[in-house]
Structure formats: C-alpha cells, structure tokens
C-alpha cells in the first residue's frame, strides 16, 4: 500500500521530471524522439528557453507549427500550408569551374520555404495567419506583437546575429545563409545523370531519391536536390537536422562517388 502522502510525492516527482524534460534543451529526444518539439526549429520553445532579451526579439505565438504552417490561408507557392509572409529575394547561386553537372538553379518552392527564415530577409516571426479563428487582426503576431523587436536570421545589430555569434549567445552564424548562396551546396538543380558526371550514385527512385516514404535517407524532390534532400527540418536527432548520421561522410556518399 502506498500512503496518500507518498502518492502525492510520487506525482510531484513525475511532474518535475516531465516538466524538466519538456524545458530541458539538452535532452529533447529522450522524451520526444525525433520531434521538432523542443528543438531549435521549435520557436515557441526557443522563446520560452530564451533570455529576457530573446523574449524581446520575437513573438511567442504559443504554438509550435504556426511559425511555418497554417491550415488555412497559407502561401502554397512557398511550401506546404506555408504561413510565412515572405517574398523571395533574388539569390546568388552556387557555380564552380569544377562542376560537370547542371549548375544550381533559382531556389524552388521546397527550398524557398527554408530560405524564408534562413536568408535573413524577414523576421523569424513574420507569419501570414496568427493562431486563433477568423481574421484575427489584433492578435500578438508579427508587427503587432508582444515582443518589442522582430529579428531576422542575419548578422549585425537588430538581428539574431546581435547576440548569436558565440557570445553572449550560442554561435548561429553558420545558419545565416543570406541571399548569397554561392557558398552553399547547390540546390534546386536536377540530380546529375551518369553521363553528366559519373561520380554520382544513381538513386533508386529518380524522382524521390533514396528516402521514399522514409525520412531517414536522402530525398529528391521531383528529381531535384533541395534543402530537405539532406535535412529533416522536423527531426533534430542528427545534428544539424540531418536525414541520417554523417559518420564516415555517409550522408555525402549517398550521392557522391568520391
């Protein structure tokens, strides 16, 4: 038999453990196993974990998905049920004299979704449709929010890079892709055929790549390489949001014969 007091204390411990894990950024997968929740792509969690300054830099909409998705009124030209108030900039794309394959294209929709935060042109909380029903013209969303500032992912003052350069906050500069993609792996180009460059493996599915229905391997999108070919935006398990571990450069070797 367990006494009533003992029940209470057990419940308390359970509560503390659970709450602790929810809020603990170091062990999100211990409990949630490959979930976006609690990861750096969970902006609600980021806000909650953040410092006072961080809380002044973006709106907390109280939901996880809303920073990217909305069930109604989204911009499908950018991504699935896409909720970001984003007009794509013009990009510099990757070119190289050593490439035998088709050069990088203008970023396509699948990749533009990612770039709607990572190119740093608009604030991370810049969404179309805030939580709640109806037009919701007064809610705490972008431009009218509770936060004093609305920062974008870029270096310099009045942006994430004001703090996230290693000090005082963690260094996030590598995620600031900017609109100059010439220093990033090419995207939105057709996967090379063997005749274009024999140094690429042939995917089992020319349209979908290796992943198919599984999120755990490299995917192609309509036969093209896009940001989510390598990254699984919803799963933080393999840092940094990779589809699979890169030990022995296994991710790279999925495509490249080098």
């Amino acid at each position: 038999m367990v006494s009533g007091k003992r029940w209470l204390s057990m419940l308390f411990v359970l509560f503390v453990l659970t709450a602790g894990r929810v809020l603990d950024p170091l062990t999100p997968s211990t409990v949630f196993g490959g979930s976006i929740v609690g990861s750096r792509h969970d902006l609600k969690s980021d806000w909650e974990k953040g410092s006072v300054l961080m809380k002044e830099s973006l709106n907390n909409y109280g939901e996880v998905c809303v920073y990217c998705h909305t069930p109604h009124g989204g911009d499908e030209s950018l991504g699935p049920l896409w909720n970001r108030d984003y007009t794509p900039a013009s990009f510099n794309v990757y070119t190289s004299p050593t490439m035998d394959t088709t050069a990088a294209g203008i970023p396509g929709a699948v990749s533009l979704a990612c770039l709607s935060c990572h190119d740093g042109t608009i604030a991370v909380d810049s969404i179309i449709n805030a939580p709640g029903s109806g037009p919701n013209l007064t809610g705490p969303w972008y431009g009218q929010g509770a936060a004093t500032y609305h920062f974008a992912m870029k270096e310099g003052a009045n942006a994430c890079g004001e703090c996230h350069v290693g000090s005082p906050a963690h260094d996030a500069r590598h995620t600031y892709l900017t609109t100059d993609l010439s220093d990033d792996h090419p995207i939105s180009m057709p996967y090379p055929s063997p005749s274009e460059d024999p140094q690429f493996n042939t995917p089992p599915d020319a349209m979908k790549g290796w992943g198919g229905a599984s999120p755990g391997d490299v995917k192609l999108y309509a036969g093209k390489v896009e940001c989510p070919s390598c990254h699984n935006v919803h799963d933080p398990d393999v840092v940094p949001f990779l589809r699979k571990a890169n030990t022995g450069s296994a991710l790279c070797y999925t495509c490249h014969i080098k």
Partner: protein, 694 residues
C-alpha cells in the same frame, strides 16, 4: 538495329564501371578521418569530406571549401625557356576564386605545410575558430611534416608549374634578326586530352594541381589517368596528354630496351624499362633535383644516372652504368674536355637565342665571358636524339664520305644551331641565323666556337685561352671554315663548292687515305678530328673528352708537336710516325711523297727533284709553312704567312712565307710559288701570273 542495341547496352554499363573504378577517397590517404589508411589522420573526427568541404557558408565558397586557406607567398616556377618563348608565367598563386592558381592554393592549404591539417572552418554546425581537429602524423602545431610524401612546401620552383596559362599557340622564333623562320612550337597539344583538365578563368585556361590529379580518386598519386599497366604508364599518358614533344616517338629515350637495375625504380614505377619510364627517366613532376626543367638531378647528373639512385643503378650515361647508354661521364671527365661537369647553373634552354652582345640583363646566354659552358643538352636534344652516329661502330670515320657527310647524325638530331652569314675571306662572320634544328654538325659547334659566343676575334684569334693550352687562345671557327677562304678542311661545304678556293680546289685522291676517296665532293664533321681517344673501341663517339690536347682523335693524336714536345719535322721518319695527327687522313709519305714540296727533303745531296736546291725542306717543321690550327686559311693549302698571329703562327714566329700561290698540281711547285723575305729560305720570288694569295 543491332549496333544501336549494343551501344545502348554499353552506355548503360559505362556508369556501372565508372562507379566500380576505385572506392574513392575513403581508401586513400585523403581520408583524414579516423578510418583513413594514411599516417596523417584524425584521432576522433569520423567524417571524411569535412576536411575539405562543408555544405554551407563555405570559405572559400568554391568548391564549398572548409579548410583554412594558406596565405603563403610562393616562389613560383619559371625558366629562361618560358621567358624566351614569351610564355606567360604567374608571379603568385591566386588568393581569390577568380584568380588563376586559386584551385592549386586550395590543395596547398594542406600541402604547403603552413596550415594545420585539422584547421577546419565548420564542423556539424559549429564554427571552430582557433581550435583544430586533433590529428596524428602531423607536426606538433598540426601542419603536414616536410617528410610527408605529399609535402610540397612554398618553393614551387621544383614542381611542375601551376596557376599557369595553357597556351599551345606560343612558339619560339628562330631565324635572323627581324625575320622569324622555322619557329619551334611550345610543344603542347591544342588542349589537354581527357581525363586531364584545365581550369577556365577570365584570361583563359590554366593548369592547376587538379589538372593532373583528382584528390578523390583511388589511384596512384591521385592521377586522373587511371588506365595503364603501371605507374610509369599512367604518368607517361599524363605527360603526353598536354606535352607533344617533337620526334619524341621513335627517339632512343622512348624506345630503348635498356632497363634499370635499381630496385627503387622498379618499386616506384612498376617497371625498370627506359622506354616505359619515358619522361620519368629524366624528369620529376615534383621535387625535381635540377631547377628548372624539373630534372631529376642537376644538369649532366640527370644524364649520368637517370631515375636511378646512382649511375650504377641505371642504363644511362654515367661511369659504371648498367649496359644500355653510352658511358659519357668517364670520357667527359678526362683532362681535355668540353666543360660540362665543372660548370653548373650557367646553361639555360634556348641560350642559343642570346649570343654575344644580345643577352638581356639577368639572363644567361652564350657569351663566353660570363656564360661559358657546355652541358649535354647544348649538343644533344634528349627528346629527339635517336640511335646512330656519324661514324659506324668501330670506325673513326664514316664509311663512304660524300657531300652530305656533315649532316647531323641521329645523336645530334633536333639540336639548335647557328648558320653564319659568310663574309669575304679574312673577315670575321658576325651575322648568324639561329636554327631550331641544326642540319649540319658545325652549326652546333659554331654556337660557341665563333663570334656568336666569343665576340670579336682579331685575325681569327680571340682573347680567351684554350683549356688545352692556356698559352694559346681560342680561334674563331666560323672565320676559319668560311667557304670564301682560300683553303679549308671541308666542314661547311665540299671543296668543289669552296667559292674562295681557285683551281685545283681539292687535293688529289693520292693525297688522301680511305675512306676520304672523293676529294672535292665530300664533307666532314668537326668530330672527325676531335673526339675521344678510344672511339674505335670502348669510348663513345664525339668530342666529349680526351686525354689528348685539343681532343685530337684518330690513330695519330699529336699536332703540331710530337709526344716529346718537339715539333713535327718534314722527314721520312716523322712523316711515317703513326702518332702524327695529319697522317690519319693524309698519307704524307708512304714510300713516296705526295707533292714535290714535301719531297724536297731527300737524302744528303739528293732526293726528289724539282725547283732549286736539293733537300732544302728536310727537317723543316711543318709549321714553318702550314698554319698550326689547320682548320682553314686565307691562303691556299693551309699555308700561313709570317705576319699571321699565334696560334696560327706557332709561337708567333714559326711561319716563314710572305707569299704563296697554289700550283696547278701537287707536283708542279717551283720556287716562285713561295716567296720569303730576303735571307729567309729561298728569299723573295717573282710571283706567278696570278700573283700571291693575299
């Protein structure tokens, strides 16, 4: 339809084979992760690509670079050959992606040894900053050790040039001043054959490290060329993908059946055959021992030992070399020789284009004063030389001399030369046409032995002492062999074409020994008289070196003095002496005399008749009448005048005549043909109707 189906099948299989050819960088020393096979590898980092590439925020952006770049200032490859050809050479490797040489600087960010191998930019989303990936096999501070096989360093003078434009259109101009003739192309294919690559920049296509190497390919030396029986074959294909050396195919160095015995050569290249090693016999693409030109060893040492660790390990041209090549080192280090082993760092390719008076500051040419030298490649073109010399094995001279006997032999094929513009007799030739490829042997010799290198020579005599006898000076051989001279040895033209000579131009056949049986219609080599003492037995042919003064060769090797130092005299004893140099070709006395001047030395009170007095020439030194340098003369029959300078005039005081006129035949001489001052010999004479030679 069948061919189409087959080609479709082949097309489908090609990528499979391509994918199967080597497992890639994983199995190579470029796998710097913990799983790498080389001595240099990470102690913990398990990713492979990361040491060079990163997918985001790469720096430099192309090719998604993740390794800290080298800021080194490099000492670049350059050569007089490239300068003279006008080939553009870089002063530095580019530091920005748009600048030629940049691709090579990527490789050098490890291989120059100035940046830690583990100095990466980003690893899995973390910017490393000053921290580096822990490695084994590196210097304490992380850099590639200078002892590593792949170490290049910052001195690129010993390495094949990179960051250099690929331009096959450039050619070296030969000819006379202002009129280019017979240009020598830069000997490059129009573009490199695949799989070699050039890299396009705004100013053209450039050669980079990655032109020959693919850092990712599992292949010896990371060569792009993966097909070939062994490393030697792969390198041969690599070199020939760009370089197109004239007449290389068929040359002795590309076809020789000789082999190295040095086991290191076999271990390194997978073969010891000279023909298979090809370029690698003499060159190294990296860390050449001879600068420039990527030679294996400095200058002649390359010829002596080739790819072997010592002369004995190779079939090349050194003392004690294994059979195959001629042992040149032994003869060229004899007392009297062309200055090859004793002079270093003077020869430059195409020095033929920079003669006396024409050398730009900072360049070395042929000017004797500052640039005296004779390297192997001054007289031989190792890319074109083939087997076969002017005289067959075992003989001093060619078998059947003819008008073309002075044409270059296979051993002298493709060597630069000069052809003088011939002035009147007695005037020094000072204008020359440069030749991409000499057609006559003398054109090679005259590069140095004329005004072209020696400068002004008064009456044919320079101010530079000979190596054989420092008391006498070099003479100008173009001055001497001028077809406008009254008498010469027929080195330039046949005597019947010797325009300066009046009839009878040639000697009679009785005045010559075999094989010189076509007087007037034959030419000869300089090296018919100058060469090694044992050319009919073990010595390689040619004037490399000798134990005898002036490298005189043949059965007789002494002139104008005997072995005891005294002058040769006109008498039956001396004229029959096998040591007498002239006797090699001229049977001066073989029981009879061959002209009635020589015969006037008969016994006491008797002897051959003709003219006045009996035996008046007996025991006269040869050099009382003949020039001591018997190349050519402003007078007929190599006669010299008392006014001639030394060394033509032995000791400056030996020549006696002051006037000479050639007779109509060898036995038609009388006193009037030769005039002397009062009291000398038979004194002043009345000249024959034609007068005396000037």
């Amino acid at each position: 339809m069948r061919p189409l189906i087959i080609s479709m099948v082949v097309a489908a299989l090609v990528p499979l084979f391509a994918a199967a050819a080597g497992a890639g960088v994983v199995n190579t020393v470029h796998n710097l992760s913990t799983t790498g096979p080389g001595a240099i590898k990470a102690t913990e980092e398990a990713e492979i690509c990361i040491f060079c590439h990163v997918p985001h925020n790469a720096n430099p952006a192309v090719p998604l670079w993740n390794h800290d770049m080298s800021g080194a200032a490099y000492t670049m490859y350059d050569s007089e050959y490239l300068k003279r050809a006008g080939y553009p050479t870089p002063s530095e490797l580019g530091a920005a992606p748009a600048e030629p040489g940049f691709v090579s600087r990527l490789c050098l960010s490890c291989h120059d040894g100035t940046v830690a191998v583990g100095a990466l930019y980003i690893v899995r989303g973390t910017i490393l900053g000053d921290s580096i990936i822990a490695m084994t096999g590196v210097e304490p501070t992380g850099e590639m050790p200078a002892t590593a096989a792949g170490y290049i360093g910052t001195d690129l003078t010993r390495h094949h040039p990179v960051g250099i434009k690929y331009d096959s259109s450039i050619a070296v101009t030969f000819g006379s001043a202002g009129s280019g003739v017979n240009p020598r192309p830069i000997e490059l294919h129009a573009s490199p054959a695949a799989p070699l690559k050039v890299y396009a920049y705004a100013t053209g296509n450039y050669v980079e490290c990655a032109s020959c190497h693919d850092a990712h390919v599992e292949n010896e030396k990371f060569l792009r060329v993966t097909t070939g029986a062994n490393l030697a074959a792969k390198i041969d294909t690599t070199c020939n993908s760009c370089h197109s050396k004239i007449d290389w195919n068929g040359s002795i160095h590309s076809t020789s059946t000789a082999s190295y015995t040095d086991s290191n050569v076999l271990d390194t290249f997978g073969t010891g055959a000279v023909a298979s090693l090809a370029c690698m016999n003499c060159h190294r693409t990296h860390r050449g021992g001879g600068v420039p030109y990527l030679l294996r060893q400095p200058e002649e040492n390359t010829c002596f030992q080739g790819a072997a660790g010592s002369a004995a390990g190779g079939p090349c041209h050194g003392t004690g070399a294994a059979g195959g090549g001629k042992d040149i080192e032994t003869v060229i280090t004899r007392t009297y020789s062309h200055p090859t082993t004793g002079i270093s760092g003077v020869h430059t390719n195409l020095d033929v284009l920079y003669p006396e008076g024409g050398t730009p500051p900072g360049s070395k040419g042929l000017v004797w004063d500052t640039s005296k030298h004779a390297e192997c490649v001054d007289c031989h073109n190792p890319h074109r030389a083939a087997q076969g010399t002017h005289a067959p094995s075992g003989q001093w001279y060619p078998s059947l001399p003819a008008a073309t006997t002075n044409t270059v032999s296979n051993a002298l094929k493709g060597v630069t030369g000069v052809e003088p513009e011939w002035p009147s007799a007695g005037i020094q030739p000072v204008n020359f046409t440069t030749l991409e490829s000499a057609s006559k042997e003398y054109q090679i010799c005259l590069k140095c032995h004329s005004y072209y290198a020696l400068g002004v020579a008064s009456d044919g005599v320079t101010s530079y002492p000979t190596l054989s006898d420092p008391t006498i000076n070099f003479t100008d051989q173009a001055w001497e062999f001028n077809p406008n001279n009254l008498s010469v040895h027929p080195v330039v033209v046949t005597l019947n074409s010797q325009t300066g000579s009046y009839a009878p131009q040639a000697l009679t056949s009785s005045q010559l020994s075999p094989p010189w049986t076509a007087p007037g219609n034959q030419t000869m080599y300089c090296s018919d008289c100058h060469g090694a003492e044992n050319e009919t037995t073990q010595d390689p042919k040619g004037p490399h070196g000798s134990s005898y003064e002036f490298m005189l060769k043949g059965t007789g090797r002494y002139w104008p003095t005997k072995p005891d130092g005294s002058l040769w005299l006109l008498n039956t004893t001396d004229a029959s002496d096998p040591d007498l140099f002239c006797r090699n070709c001229h049977p001066i006395y073989d029981g009879s005399w061959k002209n009635n001047v020589h015969s006037q030395q008969g016994g006491m009170g008797g002897g051959g008749g003709g003219g006045g007095g009996m035996g008046r020439h007996r025991n006269r030194p040869c050099v009382n009448c003949h020039v001591a340098v018997p190349h050519g003369s402003r007078r007929s029959r190599l006669i010299g005048y008392a006014s001639d300078p030394s060394p033509y005039n032995y000791n400056g005081n030996s020549l006696k005549p002051v006037g000479f006129a050639k007779a109509s035949g060898p036995f038609n001489y009388d006193d009037r043909n030769c005039s002397f001052p009062m009291g000398v010999c038979h004194g002043p004479q009345t000249p024959p109707p034609g007068g005396y030679d000037p």
